[in-house]
Amino acid sequence: MPQNTIPDGEALLLPSGEPIQMIDADGGAVEQGGWKEPYVRPDDARLLSGYEHLVLGRRINDQAGALVRQGRLAVYPSSHGQEACQVAAAMVLGSEDWLFPTYRDTVAVLARGVDPVAAFQMLRGSWHAGYNPMEHKVATQATPLATQLLHAVGMAHAAKLKGEDSVVLALCGDGATSEGDFHEALNFAAVYRLPVVFLIQNNEFAISVPLSQQTAAPSLAHKGIGYGMPGERVDGNDLAALLAVLGSAVDRARGGGGPSMVEAHTYRMQSHTNADDATRYRSDAEVAQWVPRDPLTRLGRHLAAAGLLDEDVEARIAAAAESVAARLRDGLNAEVEVDPQDLFAFVYTEPTPQLREQSAFLADELARSAGATIENAEGGLR
C-alpha cells in the first residue's frame, strides 16, 4: 500500500465521511470517494475464498438455530446478516495473531479454524469454553460485555514486550461501547501504542436498545480520536471493504503504528437470541430494508459478474458448507458425556483440600445413589 498518501494527525484519527464501501448491494464495484486512506480492494480470488466462508457461516447460523429448536443447544445468538464481519475478522489475521470474540462471534471462531463441535460446547452446556484457546489463538467467547477487549490489550502488550510482531483483533457490539471496559481498553491500547484492532459490529441493537440510546457521538468510529487512535467506518455487509479496512488496520498495528478501531455498520437480522422476541421493539418493515443489503447475495453477484461463480462453483461451495453443518449436527446429536468430577478438577491447578473433600463427598454420594450410572464416580479427584 502506498504510504505517502495516508494523512497525518487528526485527519487520520477521524473516520472517512461515509462508511467505506467497495461493492454495492447489487454487486457493482464502488469507486473510491472520500476515503481517508487509499484502501485497496482485495483481488477476486481472495473474495471467492471469503465467499465460501460466508456461505459456510450462513449455513452454521441456520444449523445452530435448528439445533436450538431441537433442544440440542440452550440458546444461540445468531450472526445472520453479520457474516461478512465474522469472516473478515478471521481472514485478516495470521496464524500467530489472536482473536478475542464475543458470544455472537461463533462464525468468526470457526473461520479461524476452531472445530465446530468444540466451539458449540458452550451453548450446548457441557463446558464453558468448549475449545482450547491456545490451539488456534482464539480466546474464549466472552459474555460479560467489553471485558474481553482488555484481555486483547494485555495479549498485545505481552506480544510487544516479547518483541513479537503479532496482532490482536478484538470484537464487540455497539452496545458494549457504552461499557467502562471499552473505554479503558481503547485508552490503554492507545497509551501503550499496542498492536490491537478493535472491530465494533454495529448491528443497531443491544438486545432491544437502539444505538441512538447508547451514544450521542456522530458515529462510533468518531470515538477513536478521543483516544488518539484512528477510527474508521465501513459497510459491515461488504466483505471487500471490510477486508481492505481491517487489513490496513492490521498492517498498521503490525508495523508498530498502534491500535485502530473500526466500526462496521451492519444489522442483526434475527432476534438477539432465540429466547428474544424482536417484534416487541422493531418493525418487520425495518428488518425488510436490510434484506437487499445481504452480504452473501452482494458478493455472490459480484463474483458471478467477474466470472468466478457459476452454478457448479456455487453447488460445490454449498456442498462443502453442508458437510460441515452435518458434522456439527452429528456432533451435537451424540449424547454428551460429562464427568461430575469436572466440577472440582480445574478450579485451581491443584485442587484445594476443601475441594478434595467436596469431590470425595460427591463421589461417595454418587456411589451410594441407586441410580448412579456415571463411571469414575468412585474415589473423587485423583
Binding site: W127, A158, R252, G255, V347
Partner: protein
C-alpha cells in the same frame, strides 16, 4: 504526509510503557534502584515486599509490575520503590488510572505468557476491577479446563488502623474468599511478607495478596539468605517438583500457600487471626499471660486455601477458640472460620467459638475507628466468656 504520526511523549520506541519524557526524567531526582541486600537485615514489612518483587523479577523476566503510581513514585506506600530504576520501564510501569483496565490487561498479559504483579492503590479502589476479578481472573482456569491458567498477583493494601479517610480502610477479603478460583493470602510478619509474595508470584493460579497497611512500616530482623534459599534460581519454591502440575500431590511443603502457622504457643485458648489482627491477638496473649492465662495465637495467613488441619489441631489442643478479624462479622471470613471450627472440633470444644470482629457498619471515620476495631480488651473479654467455670 507521512505514515502514522508518533505521539510526542513516546521518546523511547523500545520502551512500551509509561515512559516519561527524557526532559522530565532528567529534571527529576533519579529514584535509586532497589539495592541488593543480603544476609541478616532489619527490614520494614514494605521493604520485604519490595525485595520479594525485585528478587522475583530478577529470577524470571516474565514477572512484571504495574499499577497506579508504581513506577517513578514507587507506589503511594513505596512498596515498588526502585523497581523501575532497576528493571526499566518495560518491567515496572505506571498505568492509566483505571483499575478494571489494570486487571483486565493483566489477564491478557498472563494469557500471553507473562506473570503480572499489579497493585491496586487501596482496598476500596479495587472495586472497579471486581468484574474482571470475579468473571475472568477467578474463572479462566476452570472455564478452559486448565488450558489457560492466569499466574498473576493482585496486591491490595487493605484494612484500617491508620486513621485513613473513607475508602482507604476497607477489609474487603470476604468478596475475594467467596470467589472460587482465587487464592487469597494476607501476611502479617516481615518474613511472611517476603516469602508469601514470592510464593504468590510463583503460583500458577491468580492470587489476591492483601497487605495490611497498618504493618507496612513495622520492622523485624530477617535472614534474607535463608529466605532466598527457599527459591530456585528461576523463582519457584525449591521444595516443589519442577513440573508442579502432574504429580497430583499436595502443595509443596516449601510454599506457604494453604498453610497457617502458630504465631504464639499457648494452652488455655486459641486466638485465630490474620493480617492486621495478628498483632492485636499477640498483644492480647501477652496481656493474658501477665494475668496467668496462656493464649495460643494462630496466624491463618492463607485465607484460601484454608488450612483446616493446622487451625483445628490448634483449637483441639486448647478446647477454646476466638476468631478475630477487622471486617464486619456478618457473612465474613471470621464467620467461615468459626463455622468450620465448630463443625470440625465440636467434641473438643469447651465453649462455643466466639468472634471479635468489626461491627456491621461501613468503615468508620478516623475518630471513630478505635470503637470499631477489635482491641486487646475486646479480645480478652471474649476469652473471659469462654465458659471457664465448667
Amino acid at each position: 504526509m507521512t505514515t502514522v504520526s508518533e505521539p510526542e511523549f513516546r521518546t523511547d520506541p523500545a520502551a512500551p510503557a509509561g515512559v516519561p519524557s527524557e526532559a522530565r526524567a532528567a529534571a527529576a531526582p533519579a529514584a535509586a534502584a532497589v539495592e541488593r541486600l543480603t544476609g541478616v537485615q532489619t527490614l520494614t514489612f514494605a521493604k520485604a515486599l519490595n525485595l520479594a518483587m525485585a528478587d522475583a523479577m530478577e529470577a524470571d523476566s516474565r514477572v512484571l509490575v504495574f499499577g497506579e503510581d508504581v513506577g517513578t513514585l514507587g507506589g503511594v506506600f513505596r512498596v515498588t520503590d526502585g523497581l523501575t530504576a532497576r528493571f526499566g520501564t518495560s518491567r515496572c510501569f505506571d498505568t492509566p488510572l483505571a483499575e478494571s483496565g489494570i486487571l483486565g490487561m493483566a489477564t491478557g498479559m498472563a494469557m500471553g505468557g507473562m506473570r503480572p504483579v499489579v497493585e491496586m492503590q487501596f482496598d476500596a479502589f479495587a472495586y472497579p476491577a471486581f468484574e474482571q476479578m470475579v468473571s475472568h481472573v477467578a474463572k479462566m482456569g476452570n472455564r478452559t479446563r486448565g488450558q489457560v491458567r492466569l499466574p498473576l498477583v493482585v496486591r491490595i493494601p487493605y484494612a484500617g488502623g491508620i486513621g485513613g479517610v473513607e475508602h482507604h480502610c476497607d477489609s474487603s477479603e470476604a468478596y475475594y474468599v467467596h470467589t472460587p478460583g482465587l487464592t487469597v493470602l494476607t501476611p502479617s510478619t516481615v518474613a511472611d511478607a517476603y516469602v508469601m509474595l514470592r510464593d504468590a508470584i510463583a503460583s500458577p493460579d491468580p492470587v489476591v495478596f492483601l497487605e495490611p497497611k497498618k504493618v507496612y512500616f513495622s520492622k523485624a530482623e530477617v535472614d534474607l539468605d535463608a529466605l532466598r534459599a527457599r527459591y530456585t534460581a528461576e523463582g519457584a519454591p525449591a521444595g516443589e517438583s519442577s513440573g508442579g502440575h502432574d504429580d497430583g500431590g499436595q502443595a509443596a511443603p516449601s510454599s506457604t500457600i494453604g498453610t497457617a502457622v502458630v504465631a504464639r504457643e499457648g494452652t488455655d485458648a486459641t486466638l485465630i487471626a490474620y493480617g492486621p489482627s495478628v498483632a492485636t491477638a499477640i498483644a492480647a496473649a501477652e496481656t493474658a499471660a501477665a494475668e496467668g492465662r496462656s493464649l495460643q495465637v494462630v496466624d491463618v495467613r492463607s485465607l484460601v486455601p484454608f488450612d483446616d488441619e493446622t487451625v483445628c489441631a490448634a483449637v483441639r489442643s486448647t478446647g477454646r477458640a476466638v476468631v478475630i478479624a477487622e471486617a464486619p462479622g456478618f457473612a465474613s471470613m471470621a464467620a467461615e472460620i468459626a463455622a468450620r471450627v465448630s463443625e470440625r472440633c465440636f467434641h473438643s470444644l469447651a465453649a462455643p467459638v466466639l468472634r471479635v470482629t468489626g461491627f456491621d457498619v461501613p468503615y468508620p471515620a478516623p475518630k471513630l475507628e478505635q470503637f470499631f476495631l477489635p482491641s486487646v480488651d475486646r479480645i480478652l473479654d471474649a476469652v473471659d466468656d469462654l465458659q471457664w467455670e465448667d
